[in-house]
Symmetry: C2
Subunit: 756 residues, 2 copies
């Protein structure tokens, strides 16, 4: 045991540190155990009538069919990359470690997605069943279903990082890269595939159902209803969980890399301790989420839980920092910032608190731009009166503006780290940014609970509608659904923000690595990455273009898939028996079209993410690749927030009108608001969120490819140039293909043209 866990026998670690690391492991397992406990609790609940079970089963089957097909599709790729990674590291035990860590990272990410999604589809029917008798109980089940995924993310993320550190010690960095990459790559696939699936189904269902036929959402006659509900689970739940898991991993990877360089082992152990506190505070906070039957205050309960978790975290960080971050050998450190205590270095604590503050501010910001009662959504809602076009224009304006404030908040957080570490080595500032990311994701347990709560409540509402529950139950479910829409929107902001902070940390690691692989000092590298260098500027321009290309690819994919769904649903409605509700539509056919399309459409964006950094690095060298990464981070953040919040605003403007304003349901204003919502769907649920893993994947690929790029600059490698050549051809084909309609679309097209 001590042989495997080198740290445990390393005399430079005190007995207390070893105890603390063991405690972190215990907390990680505790988090997982709590998830298990909650799962047991949820599964024991009543599943309601036979009707409800039947609908729930259809959703579950559809969701699992999708995921199993997705996993099969990418299993080969994962194995291939595992093999490739073995050759990217130098020493053999590192190589094995990195390959295994990659496998572990992708497995963990997949597990979080798979279990989270399965719990969600188990939870939704139980929430619907509970709604018949109790609001409080329905809320508790829905929220705790989310918490299961949250605690899984927390537990697995912490477990993986800690284990690798215990085994590899000082060399953990090289291995951690593999761990982060595994999680990230899988999250990218889950985000893109799930996003395409969910939005194709949603857009297809809404366009025909709500807009053309004027029937409510989740009307059982609509053939896309089940696929729509399945989509909520694969996209919002599995995709989102994998995405946040990934940010959670990547920030710990970056913090450990940079912590080692700046503060030695204390710099590595401190973030692990912070994470452990976060797990504990999430357990406490999420457990407290409950309301009374009279109050029905779902949102208030969730906010209270969040506040308690935040408070526990802040107190915990300060205490741990105060007792652990002592550096007597460094001599007296700067005064008031370290509370005037000699040898104490509280700076890592302050940066972690900046992270918590950033998370809270982004939550407020997202809430402001997407909540129905706030001015931005009101602005969009008012525009629905003057038609479809003004609805879209105003939504675009809201989205554009929101991304300004989001990026300013992130700039402010980085500025905070800079202020705290002012005058020191840039590595310290980078460590500060990474710790800010750690702080930001402290409440991951709560965030994911809130996020998954969304699709669970949404599905429960759908089941309620399809199973014709009574009015009181329907009201309970509608209230929970509305609350879930808000919580889901809010956590999107956190997901994007944390992705950017994680990417900035990785970017700093990239710079540190250039120094390492070229055998130069950090100071030597700085001028190479100046924006005054034409190649850096060129890289930067190309990098900025990537999120635009990626978004275009994913939006087109949704459009193509949605076109098929629209035609299929229209065709099924032509069957009078289906329209009159006497015959069940062929749900499975729509599910199967969505699944197949999502798989096909996944390939292009995935390859783009992996190939682009390698091509830029080899063709334009490592400096341009640095500019490229900076460009991606900037454009990625701006575009992702723009899309998420414009989409959120349109969504809630529609809800506002459906609550009876400006003519309410069925009015012209309502139709315009549905157009807005439909436009927003692929932006906020496919293209936007998929940019989070994209930003991180590209940074990680750059980090992994760097040694080869550096070696190639000295001594051109035929193999690498071959990879670039093939890569360019492949990307060309992908982009060309992405603009071709799929055969099914063309078939429909021909029929329409004939009919015209």
């Amino acid at each position: 045991m001590a042989d495997l866990f080198t740290i445990m026998s390393d005399p430079s670690f005190t007995i207390w540190e070893r105890a603390a690391l063991s405690a972190v492991l215990v907390v990680a397992v505790l988090g997982l155990a709590y998830a298990g406990f909650l799962a047991g609790e949820v599964l024991r609940k009543d599943q309601g009538t036979e009707d409800m079970r039947r609908i729930s089963r259809a959703i579950r089957l559809g969701a699992n069919a999708y995921l199993s097909r997705q996993f099969r599709a990418i299993a080969l790729l994962i194995l291939l990359i595992t093999g490739l990674l073995y050759f990217t590291a130098g020493a053999q035990h590192i190589a094995i470690g990195r390959a295994c860590a990659f496998l572990m990272g992708s497995l963990f990410s997949a597990t979080v997605g798979l279990i989270g999604m399965n719990m969600a589809v188990q939870g939704n029917v139980r929430v619907a069943a509970a709604s018949r008798t109790s609001f409080a109980e329905a809320l508790k089940i829905a929220y705790r279903t989310g918490t299961i995924t949250g605690m899984l993310t927390d537990g697995l993320g912490l477990l993986g990082g800690t284990l690798i550190f215990l085994v590899y010690g000082e060399q953990a960095y090289e291995v951690l890269l593999g761990f982060g990459f595994g999680g990230t790559l899988l999250a990218l696939f889950m985000r893109v595939g799930g996003g395409i699936y969910t939005k194709a189904a949603d857009v297809g269902a809404d366009l025909v159902g709500k807009l053309e036929q004027n029937i409510p959402e989740d009307d059982p006659r609509n053939a896309a209803t089940i696929a729509d509900n399945v989509g909520d689970n694969v996209g919002d739940c599995a995709g989102m969980a994998a995405d946040i898991f990934e940010s959670y991993e990547v920030t710990i990877v970056a913090a450990m890399i940079l912590g080692w360089a700046s503060f030695g082992h204390k710099g590595v152990i401190f973030p692990l301790l912070v994470r452990a506190i976060g797990v504990l505070s999430s357990i406490v906070g999420t457990y407290l989420v409950r309301t009374s039957e009279e109050a029905r205050a779902a949102m208030k309960a969730i906010h209270l839980g969040y506040a308690v978790s935040a408070l526990v975290s802040v107190v915990g960080f300060c205490l741990v920092g105060f007792y652990y971050l002592r550096f007597p050998e460094a001599g007296p450190l700067a005064g008031w910032i370290n509370l005037g205590v000699e040898g104490l270095d509280m700076r890592p604590v302050w940066t972690t608190l900046i992270g918590i503050a950033l998370a809270v501010s982004i939550n407020f910001l997202t809430d402001y731009f997407t909540a129905p009662e706030k001015p931005p959504v009101q602005f969009v809602a008012r525009a629905t009166q003057t038609g479809h076009a003004t609805t879209i224009i105003n939504g675009l304006a809201v989205g554009l503006e929101s991304s300004v404030w989001a990026v300013l908040l992130i700039a402010l957080a980085i500025f905070g780290s800079w202020l705290i570490y002012q005058g020191t080595n840039p590595t310290y500032i980078a460590y500060g940014v990474a710790m800010c990311g750690i702080g930001m994701l402290t409440l991951t347990g709560n965030n994911i609970s809130m996020d998954v709560f969304g699709p669970v409540a949404d599905n429960a509402n759908g089941i309620g509608e399809m199973a014709h529950l009574d009015q009181k139950a329907r009201q309970t479910l509608a209230d929970l659904d509305a609350c879930g829409n808000t919580t889901k929107a809010i956590t999107k902001g956190i997901a994007i923000g944390s992705a950017v902070i994680a990417a900035v940390s990785l970017f700093n690691a990239y710079i540190t690595d250039i120094a390492k692989f070229t055998g130069k000092t950090y100071e030597d590298i700085v001028p190479l990455l100046s924006i005054s260098e034409p190649l850096v500027f060129i890289g930067f321009l190309i990098g900025g273009a990537i999120p635009f290309l990626f978004s275009s690819l994913t939006i087109r994919a949704v459009g193509r898939a949605a076109f098929l769904i629209v035609q299929e649903v229209r065709a099924q409605f032509k069957d009078r028996a289906i329209w009159e509700g006497t015959k069940t539509p062929d749900y499975a056919r729509v599910v199967s079209i969505c699944t197949a399309e999502a798989q096909r459409e996944l390939i292009g964006p995935g390859l783009l993410a992996v190939l682009a950094p390698i091509i830029v690095g080899v063709l334009l060298h490592k400096e341009a690749l640095g500019g490229f990464l900076a460009g991606i981070i900037l454009a990625g953040q701006l575009v992702a927030v723009f899309m998420a919040n414009a989409g959120g605003a349109w969504d809630n403007a529609k809800k506002f009108i459906e609550d009876g304003h400006y003519g309410g349901k069925g009015s012209e204003a309502h139709k315009a608001s549905i157009t807005g919502d439909t436009v927003g769907d692929p932006l906020k649920d496919t293209a936007g969120p998929a940019l989070n893993p994209l930003i991180k994947v590209m940074n990680l690929v750059a980090l992994l490819a760097l040694p080869f790029i550096v070696r190639n600059e000295r001594q051109p490698s035929l193999l690498l140039w071959l990879v670039v050549l093939v890569g360019l051809v492949v990307l060309g084909i992908i982009i060309y293909k992405s603009k071709q309609e799929s055969p099914e679309v063309l078939k429909w097209q021909a029929e329409i043209d004939k009919a015209n």
Copy 2:
């Protein structure tokens, strides 16, 4: 005379060089004379029936009412800045020069806009009159009307730059900054004000007329018709001309600054010679644009003229370069790239040719993404069948993708300059980029002819419709209008591309200036601007956010103004006499609402452009300001092209459907296509184009403010901090105000709410 023109008595200039400079002046005057000649020709043409004259007069009055109000509104600001600029330069004669040059730049820019617009409104009725008898004649008048503005731009731009150089010689740089800033600032106001005007009128007219009442565009019963036609002139014509004039100026400023630093006076004179050749080749090429009555080949004729101009330019550049760019003192220069001739340095020629190639490629690219018969527009047109939402989604995807290729082309052009100057001082590479900008704008005469041709043909078509011309004339006008839509869209790409290249050149000048004002070498400055520096990265994030904020402000402004127009037009339609066509609507009221709104809405974006660089520079220092500029260039380019091409694609998808596809006019697909067009309008004609001057204004403000920012870093200046404080408050108020509805909107709102 020789006293004033220092260069003429400077012995370091050969007699040949002085002769060449005089020749450049003569060519500039020749360009202006050609414009005068064309103006006389156009004005002598027949103005058609009394009916047509009346409509034309209404458009002319509206257009001039707008411009005179705009000029009055900004006159005070221009005088104020003229005074301020006097204090920004050190030595008194430079200070006077800079202030005067600023005034000259803004006057020239205003003149180009004013005369260009007036010629356009004179031209349109004559085109309509000619259409009754001859296609060839109508085309000639329309195109030559555009050429007047084109040659004015060419002539005044060249005249101003050359005069300043002749007077100030080596110190011309300081003065040229003022010249560029004057043109740029005015262009920003013309672009933003004109853009808001034109699109509010257009959106308002279309929403009520086409979408709600199902009547054709330019139906005389629509109260917004005249305002719509006025808008085409103030936005597309005056705004665009001022914008390109500005790029034309700014590239010559940058080329002269960087040319002096790299090649001495040959580096300054060569760009002037290139420009002169461009003027001559534009005269030749534009004169050749004509077609026969049988062929009716407008587009072909325009393309032929363009090709001839390009050919004349390429030959001219090579010849001038070959005979002039001799540097015997530099010793034998690199081999084949200099044709193996000893002492010859052909590199400036090659970079200029890259510029021409870039212009041609961008034309092709824009054409590909916005021409009706090409796949992207077809892709959008097909989506109209599945409704409003899919139309919007597909248009967004097309726009996003097009910006990727545009930015890659620009990156490629910069890479070309880098390759040509590889291994030399970065100033040379920067000079290469500036010369690439010079090359790109060589055919400005042709480009502006093509651009202004658009609104002239569009207005002529409107007049034809309102004056009920016969079928044959209407067909001629419709054909010219369609051709004008294509040429207008194409030149938008050039305007944005040249703005980015100009901004990159200015950005390089900024870096050179940091060295100058801090008394360090260029090599000392390079590391300061590294993206590894947190403050540079922060500046970079903030800079990227600016185009998003700016777009949001301008889009909201259009929305607000359009809302008022919609309500006004609706109210006028309630008058049955107007609806039945027996009573003329109150056109003037709509024109007046548009004018007032555009003025009010102009202030915010204008102040943002001027204040933001100063605030960032003072608060975060010159390095962060460098990152800020880079961020603006990147995000500005991406967003501007995205908006321009998405808008162009929607516009032409609508035209494609109106040609009878997918059900043609009046079908559901047509309605969806109108939504797309209406959404695209503020993007492609207001927010997108206004980003061009924004990018340049911010770079110029940074250049002008740099000495103060550097001085402030050494010795904080109370005044500057006061400016920043006030600036922050003002920006806060602007952003807050921008989200408030104007009183009129609120009044309408209250009435609507009461009615509901």
